[in-house]
Amino acid sequence: MRPAARLLLLASILALALLAAVRLGAVPLSLRQVLDAVRGTGDATTVVIVQRLRLPRAVLAAMVGGSLAASGATFQALLRNPLAEPYILGISGGAAVGAVFAIALLGAAASGGIVAACALAGAVLAIVLVFRIAAVAGRALDTRILLLAGVVVGAFFNACILLALTFADADAFRSAIFWMMGSFGGATWRSIGLLAAAMVPALALLMALARSLNLLSVGEETAAYLGTRVERTKLLAYGTASLLTASAVAVSGVIGFVGLVIPHVVRMLWGADHRFLLPASVLAGAAFVVLADTLARTAVAPTELPVGVVTAFVGVPFFIYLLRRRAA
């Protein structure tokens, strides 16, 4: 299959996943009812369910899945470490500290928008902190030190969260745990617009860096010999992937597994050229998260499973299968 055909295939899968997400939910609706509701005709309650609950939720899930997968692929190339994923450099910890402190300290004033803003601020703080530590320790940006700095800052933030939760009341405790489990339940066109404002330029920039990332994932010296401006590329890739992750975390909480595994799956199936890997990861990550969220909403409806549970329960067996098939 040619790369263009593969991307087309992934795009079709994503389209089908989005259709399934709008079609299925806790309330059983017929295809006819869903189609009418999408057009805005038919029963008012059904229109609300489809247009204002299911549709924004599916779109947000797709965008977050795509963002995390692209960010994961970038971190894996940048850090030359197969364990790298969007949250490895402490971004999720920073975001969670922002969100949990907003929930625990602001109390009644902590609306969803303020919690998201504080999560974003916490994530950006983590990014700056990690970068400052890594940049001071060596003259150039040493990715090994970057990795260590990220893990240490993440551990520190986790301790802060536990500290805040120890003194939180029952309501704050529950809100914080819900936030950290991650969910697309709060999706609105507004949150979609905010994420899109970060996602579109970030993906464009990462695509522009794709060739440099190919060289970088071989080795920094090789990349430098072959004409890549290594320091600039590392800085841009780190900043872009980090901010993309931060925006995704701010609107949906921490959704695990996607950013780690989707790039590996794409690489195993179709190779590691970032000019293909990045867009393919975006599409595959989006489709995967949309399907996972649909399953999370319907498996034990009306109770919802945390989407991270579904991504891991479905993704882990598939990933093990791929690993073993490749080893054989």
């Binding site: 008012a44 969803g112 928008g113 819900f178 609105t188 034990v300 919802e304």
Partner: protein
């Protein structure tokens, strides 16, 4: 089992944690609109979050997300007005109804599909994501606090107005007061033992003085051994419980799987309590005692029977 329910729900759930549910309120005009002219039948009540909630008329399609409030709706003769329930509601009156999931993290689309004209939700210290979202979808939400006995009486009165059942509300409140007075009278003159009420065993959590549980202990002729705590449901150190040596340890036992008394008697720390060694660890039915609703007097009776064994008829 307020806390146990909370924990169970926090496992099964994914509540909205993202941006403001600022969708506006357009787009939902078809469902109603005819009733708008009947302005004189509209009902306005201030809820426990301090918001004025206005209904076009008395509530006819109600979903209560708080089990104790579901009980209140039924006690006011409104069982036929309930159109949904949570997974935590029990009883013949609600079992036939469709569930919306947990009370703190209901399935919003299931709620919407039931077309309620009133949702009775938890007042969760200003955490407003769920309420904002439902309000934006055109569903009136009335938030109810269920911490203290005064909350119970206020919610009965408010529900009476919202459902246009004021008389039923007055007599329900009077019946509870009479029941509580009767329990209070029955322990007059008796010794007032100190009571540790075990909300949770690990980490130990108890009921603070500002909770209905603490009031029920007082009415039932006991003293809350942690009446000096500021928090509603304080976590207390095991060694502090041992130091205070409460005369009774009261353990709510229910379907939520609270630890059994026998296991507690062998547990580290707990076995140092004289109350447990000397048979003054007593259980009360969680379904009755943990329900800050119309069965408050029953809760007081159960508590009295537990901590005043000497008053029981032989």
């Amino acid at each position: 089992m307020r806390l146990a329910a909370t924990r169970l729900q926090s496992i099964t759930a994914a509540l909205a944690a993202a941006l403001l549910a600022a969708c506006g309120t357009g787009g939902d005009t078809g469902a109603r609109g005819k009733a708008a002219s009947a302005a004189d039948s509209s009902v306005s009540v201030v809820d426990d979050a301090g918001r004025t909630v206005t209904l076009r008329g008395p509530a006819r399609r109600i979903v209560a997300l708080v089990p104790a409030v579901t009980e209140t709706v039924i006690a006011l003769g409104g069982a036929d007005r309930l159109v949904g329930r949570t997974d935590f509601d029990r009883g013949a009156a609600v079992e036939r109804l469709p569930s919306v999931g947990g009370g703190l993290d209901p399935s919003i689309e299931t709620l919407v599909s039931l077309r309620p004209d009133l949702v009775l939700g938890w007042e969760t210290s200003g955490r407003t994501e769920l309420r904002d979202r439902l309000t934006a979808l055109g569903i009136p939400v009335f938030s109810i606090k269920t911490e203290d006995t005064t909350d119970v009486f206020r919610s009965i009165r408010n529900l009476g107005v919202l459902m246009a059942r004021q008389h039923a509300a007055d007599s329900a409140a009077a019946a509870i007061r009479a029941g509580l007075d009767e329990v209070r009278a029955s322990v007059a003159g008796a010794a007032r033992p100190t009571v540790f009420f075990m909300v949770w065993n690990d980490p130990p959590m108890t009921a603070g003085p500002k909770t209905f549980v603490s009031r029920v202990i007082e009415v039932a002729g006991g003293r809350n051994v942690f009446a000096d705590q500021a928090a509603l449901w304080p976590n207390v150190a095991l060694e502090e419980i041992v130091r205070r040596q409460p005369e009774f340890v009261v353990v709510p036992i229910g379907e939520q799987g609270t630890v059994r008394l026998e296991a507690l008697k062998k547990a580290v720390g707990w076995r140092e309590l004289r109350a447990l060694r000397e048979g003054r660890a007593v259980s009360v039915p969680a379904q009755v005692v943990n329900q800050p609703g119309p069965h408050l007097a029953e809760a007081a009776r159960a508590m009295r029977d537990a901590i005043h064994p000497e008053l029981r008829p032989r």
